[in-house]
């Protein structure tokens, strides 16, 4: 099987979906990311990233209840799948292992 790819922003969104666990929907992800990154993120970027990682099978979704402040629209909640979690682990290990290779000496 071809190695699934995960872009940088997609990885961030996926991480946030995992972190928010069961409470992750568009606006929540947006606000939490803005908080962590300390910069403005656009909602459209979030949705595109969500659609892509859902197509790749890293997250699955369910619809929540109707709330008044959303103009009667349902929320779509995302949860990370096992595949998504594995992907995050791979990424994390990859980064960690490369990080381990940095010689301590260079920065004195």
């Amino acid at each position: 099987m071809k190695q699934q790819s995960l872009g940088e922003f997609e990885e961030l969104v996926l991480l946030m979906v995992a972190a928010l666990h069961d409470e992750a929907y568009g606006v929540a992800i947006l606000e939490n990311l803005e908080l962590k990154l300390e910069k403005k993120v656009n909602i459209s970027a979030i949705h595109v990233a969500l659609k892509r990682i859902e197509d790749k099978g890293f997250v699955k979704s369910r619809f929540g209840g109707i709330t008044e402040d959303r103009g009667g629209r349902r929320k779509k909640f995302y949860t990370i799948t096992a595949l998504g979690k594995k992907m995050l682990d791979i990424q994390y290990e990859l980064r960690a292992s490369i990080y381990q290779q940095i010689p301590k000496i260079s920065f004195g």
Binding site: G26, R52, R74
Partner: protein, 888 residues
């Protein structure tokens, strides 16, 4: 509390472009963000951010696909329909075979016939001016029948051009054997060997221009403008002058070395779809067949073509032209020949003599009854074939409808279940329509293959060289469109019928609709068999007429007569040749004469009068032949009165032998009396029995025979069956006389049969079609009977157990179908009788349309149907009852 909403226009824009599956929750997110921002930063900022967000969402992964996201769903449904159809097809192999096989046969027949019709309709369309080119026809009514001819006096073409401003150009040709056109021996001037060739014609330069014949060599404008110029076709140029430009070379025709023809040009071969088919066009500049022939209005030998001005009103012009030509030219000619004006006018009036202009693109198909010695198609044949093709397709489509509705019981549960799971009626209709389109597509592919395989045979019997036009852009698309169309037509009734089932009833299991023999199905079976029986009757009548033609007493002996052709090059030596041949042991007699009693031989039309009655009585239109003293004996023509010619009597040079018809027309006891025509005064020495020297379609016309010599045909009557020995003996003699000319011969009985090629062809075509029709109809009947047996299986088993005999079960199962065939026969008989009476009207001498034909055709149809049904019925009747009853 009234909610503050984001910019309405932008929201609508978003709803429009967003993929419907994503729309709801993205919109929810947008709204949530908007309301938050509204609280924190005020309406203005919230609006701006909203606009910004929406515009950024306008990207490919969010926008809905242009082809509509719902397609996905109905594609899936279609896939399901086709899968179910395919499974049904495989599950019921026999029924599928009947449906598809019958359809494919129908399609193949239709395809071949469509190509045939297309070919027939394309005649003469390639001439650049074909919309403005006309052939002039002369029409005379005699005895209620109108006779059309194309031959006109030589000067008429120039008269037309001078007298009528509407006419741009006129041109003539003369292909009469009497003038040396037709077939000839031909050779290149500096070579000794003669070769036989056909397609000689006298042709005007102006006609070359009008038809815009394409030249390969030579100047199109001047190719025939010198005396003794000749234009030949490419294939003849390749034959006599391979690989060179023959312009300026000389040809010798019929060994007349003192008169050579200079080649003025080479044209492309006439297209197969041209009504004119010639190979040697001889120019007519300075040509006169007798003194002042080109100015003489009393002899009609030239086919005349005219090119009219654009926009000429043809009907009114026709009338004007007829009037003026009759008034200004024919009337003076008749007066000059001694008729009174009153008589001449009476003749015009009685015969309704007039001229017609026939567009040249109609010459091929609309020349029935036109005497022009060209080979024609016939628009009636085109219609007939088209009709037959349609009938065969219809019969196949009926099989399709019948079987689909009959087998409906098997599909009823499926329909019920589909409806219960939410199918609308329109979905079911779509399902069955797509199923029938699938069947139709498969049938078309199969049909195309069948057509491809049978094309050589079809070409053989239709006398065409049709190819399947793969390379034309329209061919494949139109086939596809047609197959979908036919599929929909054939599927409409079954799909509406099947989709009408009530789910509750079919699922409960009390469905008997399919099992009953519906009145519609019976009607369709009757229709199929009516068509088939009509075709059988037609085939039988055509064959009977053919038989009649070949075996009728024609008044001369056509068997064992060899015709040696091209003896005119031997000149006076021909008499010696005849003498030598006569001394051969196998030869009974030899006659030298061009006037052979089969169509396509030399003919010479003349008027005869009793002595002293010229221009007082109307002349008797007759044939006037020059023969030798052995003619009657060689051809076995019987004398009724008087005696044969005697070459020893010098007085016989002015003697004439006439046929009974001539004697009747001239009236009185003619033996020993004198009669006259343009060539002199003749004493009648004998009267022969009427014999058929033209097709049996025509009446025998009056005939006068006088002595003459030096003709191009030697008729040799042989006495034994051993043909090959005799032919080689004749060959040896021939070689002595004409070493440079290969002997060319044919048999009189072959020539006779060739006159009726078209009838034989019709017979073959009808046989093929009736076989096709009956096969397809029987396939349907077979499947229907199988179905009945299947449906009534239990009933039959119970009957058998209760003591029914095999006989009674057989009757029970077959009678219903046989009844339908009998009804079909009753309908087909009058229609067949009417059609065939019409067809036989073309013949003056014809076979009787006896009751036996109908009896045989009817019993044949019933027998075939019975055999077809018997298989299934007997199978059912002989079956062990237990096999059917055990299932429950």
């Amino acid at each position: 509390m009234k909610r503050t909403l984001p910019p309405h226009l932008l929201l609508r824009f978003f709803r429009w472009f967003c993929h419907p599956k994503l729309l709801k929750y993205i919109e929810g997110d947008l709204m949530e963000l908007y309301s938050e921002r509204l609280k924190e930063k005020g309406k203005r900022t919230a609006d701006l951010r909203f606009i910004f967000d929406v515009l950024l969402l306008f990207r490919p992964s969010i926008i809905k696909p242009t082809e509509g996201y719902k397609n996905l769903n109905s594609y899936g449904m279609l896939k399901n329909y086709l899968k179910i159809s395919w499974r049904n097809l495989l599950k019921q192999k026999m029924y599928s075979f009947v449906k598809i096989g019958g359809f494919a046969v129908g399609v193949a027949a239709c395809l071949l016939i469509a190509l045939f019709i297309k070919d027939e309709l394309s005649y003469d369309q390639h001439y650049a001016n074909h919309k403005k080119l006309f052939r002039v026809l002369g029409v005379i009514s005699e005895d209620g029948a109108s006779k059309k001819g194309v031959a006109f006096p030589a000067p008429m073409a120039s008269a037309l051009k001078e007298d009528f401003p509407e006419i741009v150009e006129t041109g003539r040709y003369n292909n009469s054997e009497l003038f040396g056109a037709g077939s000839s021996e031909v050779r290149v001037a500096d070579k000794p060997d003669n070769a036989y060739d056909e397609g000689f014609v006298y042709f005007d330069q102006s006609l070359v221009n009008m038809l815009q014949l394409k030249f390969i060599y030579g100047n199109p404008e001047k190719a025939l403008s010198e005396p003794n110029a000749i234009v030949i076709t490419k294939r003849k140029s390749d034959k006599y002058f391979p690989g060179e430009n023959p312009v300026g070379k000389l040809l010798v025709i019929n060994d007349q070395a003192d008169r050579t023809y200079t080649i003025g040009g080479v044209i492309e071969d006439f297209k197969p779809t041209s009504h004119l088919q010639f190979d040697f066009l001889i120019g007519m500049v300075g040509l006169e067949f007798w003194k002042d022939e080109q100015q003489y209005w009393g002899a009609s030998n030239y086919a005349t073509y005219v090119l009219v001005e654009e926009g000429t009103d043809i009907p009114s012009f026709e009338a004007k032209l007829s009037n003026q030509i009759l008034e200004n030219y024919f009337l003076p000619m008749m007066l000059e020949e001694g008729q009174s004006e009153a008589d001449a006018r009476k003749f015009f009036k009685d015969t309704n003599a007039h001229m017609e202009m026939q567009p040249i693109d109609q010459v091929h198909l609309y020349s029935f009854g036109v005497d022009d010695s060209l080979v024609h198609g016939d628009i009636r044949i085109v219609w007939l074939f088209g009709g037959i093709a349609l009938f065969i397709l219809l019969i196949a489509a009926i099989n399709f409808i019948n079987l689909s509705t009959a087998k409906s019981a098997n599909r009823a549960k499926e329909v019920g279940l589909r409806k219960v799971s939410g199918s609308f009626r329109i979905n079911i209709i779509n399902q069955f329509l797509s199923e029938s389109v699938m069947f139709s597509l498969i049938s078309f592919v199969l049909g195309l293959m069948i057509a491809l395989l049978t094309l050589p045979y079809f070409n053989m019997i239709s006398g065409k060289s049709i190819v399947i036009p793969w390379t034309y852009w329209w061919f494949t698309p139109s086939l596809l469109v047609l197959s979908v169309f036919v599929g929909i037509i054939a599927g409409i009734y079954p799909s509406f019928y099947l989709s009408s089932f009530m789910p509750i009833q079919v699922l409960k299991g009390n469905l008997t609709q399919g099992a009953k023999s519906s009145p519609l199905r019976s009607t369709l079976v009757i229709f199929q068999f009516t068509m088939s029986i009509i075709l059988i009757i037609s085939t039988m009548v055509i064959y009977r007429q053919m038989n009649f033609i070949l075996n009728t007493k024609i008044g001369f002996e056509k068997d064992q007569v060899v015709l040696l052709q091209g003896t005119n090059t031997l000149k006076s030596q021909v008499v010696t040749l005849a003498e030598e041949l006569r001394s051969l042991p196998g030869v009974v007699n030899v006659s030298n004469g061009d006037y052979i009693p089969v169509r396509g031989s030399k003919r010479n039309g003349n008027s005869f009068w009793n002595e002293g009655k010229v221009n007082i009585d109307p002349g008797v239109q007759s044939q006037f032949w020059r023969i030798d003293p052995f003619y009657l004996n060689t051809l076995g023509i019987k004398l009724v009165e008087g005696r044969d010619f005697n070459s020893d009597l010098a007085s016989d040079s002015s003697a004439i032998i006439i046929n009974e018809r001539m004697a009747k027309e001239l009236g009185g006891d003619l033996l020993g009396k004198r009669i006259t025509n343009y060539a002199g005064l003749w004493t009648v020495i004998g009267i022969v029995e009427d014999f058929h020297f033209e097709s049996l379609r025509e009446n025998i016309i009056p005939l006068g025979l006088v002595l003459g010599q030096e003709a191009s045909v030697l008729a040799v009557k042989l006495n034994t069956e051993n043909m090959s020995d005799n032919i080689s003996a004749i060959g040896h003699v021939w070689e002595k006389f004409a070493p440079h000319q290969p002997m060319r011969y044919n048999f009189l009985d072959d020539r006779y049969a060739a006159m009726y090629d078209d009838v034989q062809r019709m017979g073959k075509i009808f046989t093929s079609f009736s076989v096709l029709a009956i096969v397809v109809a029987c396939l349907g009947l077979f499947a229907l009977s199988a179905f009945t047996v299947e449906q009534r299986g239990k009933e039959i088993s119970v009957r058998l157990i209760l003591g029914a005999s095999v006989n009674s079960v057989f009757q029970l199962l077959t009678w219903n179908f046989v009844k339908l065939v009998v009804i079909a026969f009753a309908i087909a008989t009058p229609i067949g009788w009417y059609l065939m009476t019409k067809w036989l009207q073309d013949y003056v001498y014809k076979t009787e349309l006896g009751w036996d034909i109908f009896a045989v055709a009817g019993s044949m149809a019933i027998l075939i149907a019975l055999i077809t049904i018997s298989y299934q019925s007997l199978k059912a009747a002989w079956m062990k009852p237990i096999t059917n009853l055990r299932s429950e």
